[in-house]
């Protein structure tokens, strides 16, 4: 027996050696700048721990708990690369460009704050300005901004980043080149973004141009050139490079990544400790994310205090503090616990028999029991439609203020209105003529399949409730759940009518961002997506309305707020009248629950921060400000 145990232990020792050899630890600290930061130290003492004094980690030492902020729900598989030009790095702790860009390692000129809808300067110095014709957007780069190799961030870096995106046809390049003509550096500090102009000499879409500055990283020109040299101008190689040597400007850099975790380490020479930005370093020295294989494992670790910030759906999260007395909290103390930002939506296939009738679509939408969806599918982590009546806007105050609530009041429905739905159908002549309990239209029974991807349990719960509503009003709705790999192929093929079995189907909508709610409305309703063989934008039910298209085209160039409100109100009216799709619940941009066993002072509603820090896990957009406010419990 002893021999066996010895054998087992030796096996493990060998195994451990193998693993430690397999890992890809990156140097703890990037190459340090030769010159000291330009600005003097802030007057306020930095938040603990003392940044530069922390001794290096010795082999076998655990990451110091009091210097490490642990996350879950962001990284679901091993990190693939560190290449900021690639969208395929599966590197959630470092690389998520977009409306609320993740700014731990790479930085955007501005930070978007979903709570007030504003963009705050990060690499940029002061607000950006438009020229009178709204065709050129100008901003300056902060003098203090430095790369991790100590060289200054310049306007030339911004311009070269854009040129590279276009040259290699990256997601950013392909996605923006219809709206941005060029980005140029006037001098080392000044950047001008030239909008693409339409036939009338007006910018095609100034909204997308201004969103660019908070949605896309600035990447170092010198490093980009090194990468180009290494990959010899081959676009595929350029985008597939793992970029272990990448130079970055953010407060954190790579420390360790393998199949089980990813750890970032603070760059203690980070330029942002300059008085012109944060005035200090972010509190945690390490940001770590263990890779859990499902929500249950992540939840167990969160409960055990091994995770501080949880970005995963934890059902009945309130039980953790109400029943178990754990130091866990969410952004709001009561339901819906977070701020809804996106609108998971059920789309109608407008080519299905009977679904071309507004009455049938609206009747189904009116009969759905949304309160049950909110309670069951979302465990009350969504506002109800009584709290936030349906429109095209998410529940943030900024978006809610953009339409005239009184003007659309009569069109809004809160759900479970069986009588109203039946009346609507009866009036439209959609009645049960053969007495089988199901309604017919043009002599054919109304029978639909409602669907969503298999295993997406919250969506499946919602779809079941939609199906149940059909039964109440005499419309047969059955459910079917194909695998995601099949589902996405079918739903995004917009160059042909949807096949049978996809009569009512769920997809997402855009969340909070600088182009919202315009971007979301465009995704939901614009007919420009019809005809695409691979449509990842929206309007999957293939709805077409010329007036809607006109409004979507006009809004980005409109600056008069009263007019904008009018236009948005009209869009909401059309949407609620024609019902090409309907929102089933509100979903937060990120789930954001925190365990305050080690760290505290996380963002909460009315926490006194100004501008308010949004609940986006302290790493996305303006929410990174939260990292500077954290303190230790003891």
């Amino acid at each position: 027996m002893r021999n066996k145990l010895f054998f087992l232990l030796s096996m493990l020792a060998v195994f451990a050696m193998l693993l430690s050899a397999c890992g890809t630890p990156t140097p703890a600290a990037p190459a340090q700048p030769t010159e000291a930061p330009a600005q003097p130290k802030p007057t306020e003492p930095p938040a603990q721990p003392a940044p530069t004094e922390a001794p290096a980690l010795k082999p076998g030492d655990p990451l110091p708990r009091q210097e490490t902020l642990y996350f879950n729900g962001l990284q679901w598989g091993p990190v693939v690369c560190w290449n900021p030009y690639s969208s395929n790095c599966n590197n959630a702790m470092a690389l998520v460009a977009g409306d609320n860009a993740r700014v731990t390692m790479f930085e955007t000129p501005y930070l978007y704050n979903m709570l007030d809808g504003k963009q705050y300067p990060l690499l940029a110095d002061g607000d950006y300005t438009w020229n009178a014709a709204r065709t050129e957007l100008t901003f300056k780069i902060k003098k203090a901004a430095k790369w991790s190799d100590g060289t200054p961030v310049t306007a030339e870096d911004v311009a070269y980043t854009w040129a590279t995106h276009v040259k290699y046809n990256t997601g950013t390049g392909a996605g923006n080149k219809d709206y941005i003509e060029d980005i140029v550096a006037l001098d080392p500090q000044t950047v001008v973004i030239k909008a693409k102009l339409d036939a009338n000499g007006k910018a095609v879409n100034p909204l997308i141009v201004s969103a660019y500055v908070s949605s896309n990283y600035v990447i170092q020109k010198a490093w980009t050139q090194k990468l180009e040299q290494r990959t010899g101008g081959d676009a595929a190689k350029f985008l597939a490079d793992t970029a272990e040597d990448v130079v970055f400007s953010g407060p954190y850099g790579p420390f360790y990544a393998d199949e089980t975790k990813v750890v970032l380490i603070r760059n203690d020479k980070y330029w942002g400790q300059d008085a012109s930005m944060w005035g200090k370093l972010p509190a945690p020295k390490y940001l770590a994310h263990a890779i859990f294989k499902d929500n249950a494992a992540g939840f167990a670790a969160f409960k055990a205090g091994e995770v501080d910030v949880s970005q995963q759906f934890n059902a009945n999260i309130q039980d953790l503090w109400l029943k178990e007395g754990l130091p866990v909290s969410t952004y709001l103390p009561d339901p819906p616990y977070g701020i809804g930002a996106s609108l998971p939506t059920a789309f109608f296939n407008l080519n299905s028999h009977g679904l071309n009738l507004v009455a049938v679509r609206k009747a189904i939408a009116m009969a759905v029991d949304y309160d049950t969806i909110v309670a069951n599918a979302m465990a009350n982590q969504s506002a109800t439609f009584k709290q936030v009546p349906r429109s095209l806007m998410n529940p943030t105050p900024g978006e809610q203020a953009l339409y005239d609530h009184a003007a659309v009041k009569d069109l809004q429905w809160a759900g479970k209105d069986y009588e109203g739905a039946k009346k609507l159908l009866d009036e439209a002549g959609v009645v049960d003529t053969d007495g089988d309990g199901w309604r017919e239209y043009e002599g054919k029974k109304l029978s639909y399949v409602a669907t969503c991807p298999n295993g997406w349990s919250d969506w499946q719960a919602a779809i079941e409730i939609v199906a149940a509503a059909g039964k109440e009003i005499g419309i047969e709705i059955t459910t079917n759940y194909p695998e995601w790999s099949v589902y996405q192929t079918v739903v995004t093929k917009s160059d042909a009518p949807l096949p049978a079995g996809y009569d009512i189907f769920m997809m997402w909508s855009a969340g909070a961002g600088p182009t919202m709610p315009w971007g979301r409305i465009r995704n939901l309703l614009s007919s420009e997506w019809i005809g695409q063989p691979s449509n990842w934008s929206g309007n999957w039910g293939q709805y077409k309305n010329e007036r809607v298209d006109e409004l979507i085209k006009a809004i980005p160039n409109e600056t008069d707020e009263a007019k904008l409100k009018e236009m948005y109100t009209e869009l909401v009216k059309i949407y609620l009248t024609e019902v090409p799709s309907f929102t089933l619940m509100y979903r937060p941009q990120n789930f954001h629950a925190v365990n305050e066993s080690v760290w505290t002072n996380f963002p909460h509603q009315d926490d006194g921060t100004n501008p308010p820090v949004p609940p986006l896990n302290l790493i996305d957009g303006w929410s990174i400000a939260g990292l500077y406010n954290l303190t230790l419990v003891k």
Partner: protein
């Protein structure tokens, strides 16, 4: 020996034919699944992209890169050529990681978990089964029902029970990961110990179930052999019990060895349940994600490794049988 040579060539021929068919199926079957893997990659890229032509351009770019826009037979020949160079291509689901790297990163975890678990389960199970057959009485009466009960436990159930009892309630063992959530791999006692304790629950969740099945199989085989004529004859001859038991278990062991070889052959498929329940790193979960994400190169490579291992294990066993088992040897020499 001529007969044996013929036997060997015969088996080798079948090995090659089976391999060719399996190789073609490894390539074809994943690609017959409905759905489009490039669409999934584009979906990741297209998040936040606001123009339609951009998305189409990206789609074309990746379809071209992965060759999914070519006819299937062309893809096959490219695949064959690359495989013979040892190149399995890029993984779709973890692009731009090459398949070899994806497999390389998790295969050690899988082997380190599965190999000892299969071996330990096999040894304990067979010993218990043999003892039950030999000792009979109370031991057998207790062991049999327990083995049947345990071996029919769904692996998921066993893993969750171990997790709930020893991880969550008693807190004896950590519940997730391959090593401490706060550690960085290094050659230190701290890390080795962490790997050791994290290993326990996934390991026993596999071993416990394996023991039951092996014990039942071994017990039946041993009882059959104990009643065989040669045992009775040996007893009449006055041969010592110890020696007879040696004969009996050697014979009873043969089918069990085949089972062991097959288990070792398929172990590369990973211990999916243990991996998911304990968030343990390994190939099972990677492969499952590959299947869900229609990662053809990854699926083909993993199944090819499994095919080769199973076929080789089978081949070796058959060749060894030809040498060890007198009946097969006799059959060959008659021909």
């Amino acid at each position: 020996m001529k007969g044996y040579w013929k036997y060997f060539l015969n088996k080798l021929g079948w090995f090659v034919i089976t391999f060719i068919f399996a190789f073609v199926l490894n390539f074809t079957l994943p690609r017959l699944m409905p759905g489009d893997p490039v669409a999934a990659i584009v979906s990741r890229l297209a998040q936040g992209m606001s123009n339609a032509t951009g998305v189409q351009a990206i789609y074309q770019q990746y379809a071209e890169l992965f060759g999914t826009n070519r006819p299937m037979h062309e893809q096959f020949f490219i695949y064959v050529r690359n495989v013979f160079r040892g190149d399995f291509g890029f993984s779709f689901s973890q692009y731009p990681r090459p398949v070899a790297e994806v497999l390389g990163a998790s295969i050690w975890w899988t082997i380190a978990l599965q190999f000892p678990a299969i071996l330990v389960g096999w040894i304990i199970g067979n010993t218990l089964g043999a003892l039950a057959a030999y000792l009979k009485g109370g031991f057998d009466k207790v062991l049999m029902p327990v083995s049947i009960f345990v071996s029919n436990f769904p692996p998921f159930g066993m893993a969750v029970i171990l997790l709930a009892v020893f991880g969550v309630t008693l807190k004896w063992f950590p519940i997730a990961g391959g090593y401490g959530f706060d550690l960085i791999p290094s050659f230190s006692w701290n890390f080795i110990w962490s790997v050791f304790v994290h290993y326990q629950l996934p390991f026993w969740s596999i071993v416990l179930i394996a023991i039951g099945g092996q014990a039942i199989g071994m017990r039946s085989m041993a009882i059959y052999e104990l009643n065989a004529d040669y045992v009775k004859f040996s007893r009449f001859m006055g041969i010592k019990d110890r020696k007879i038991i040696g004969y009996v278990f050697r014979n009873a062991m043969l089918p069990q060895i085949t089972g062991l070889a097959l288990s070792i052959g398929t172990m590369v498929g990973g211990a999916l349940v243990a991996e998911i329940v304990f968030s343990y790193p390994g190939l099972g979960y990677t492969l499952m994600n590959g299947v869900m994400g229609q990662d053809y190169p990854l699926i083909s490579a993993a199944t090819l490794i499994i095919t080769i291992m199973v076929l080789t294990a089978n081949f070796v066993i058959e060749i060894l049988y030809g040498i060890i088992d007198p009946r097969i040897k006799a059959a060959q020499s008659e021909q």
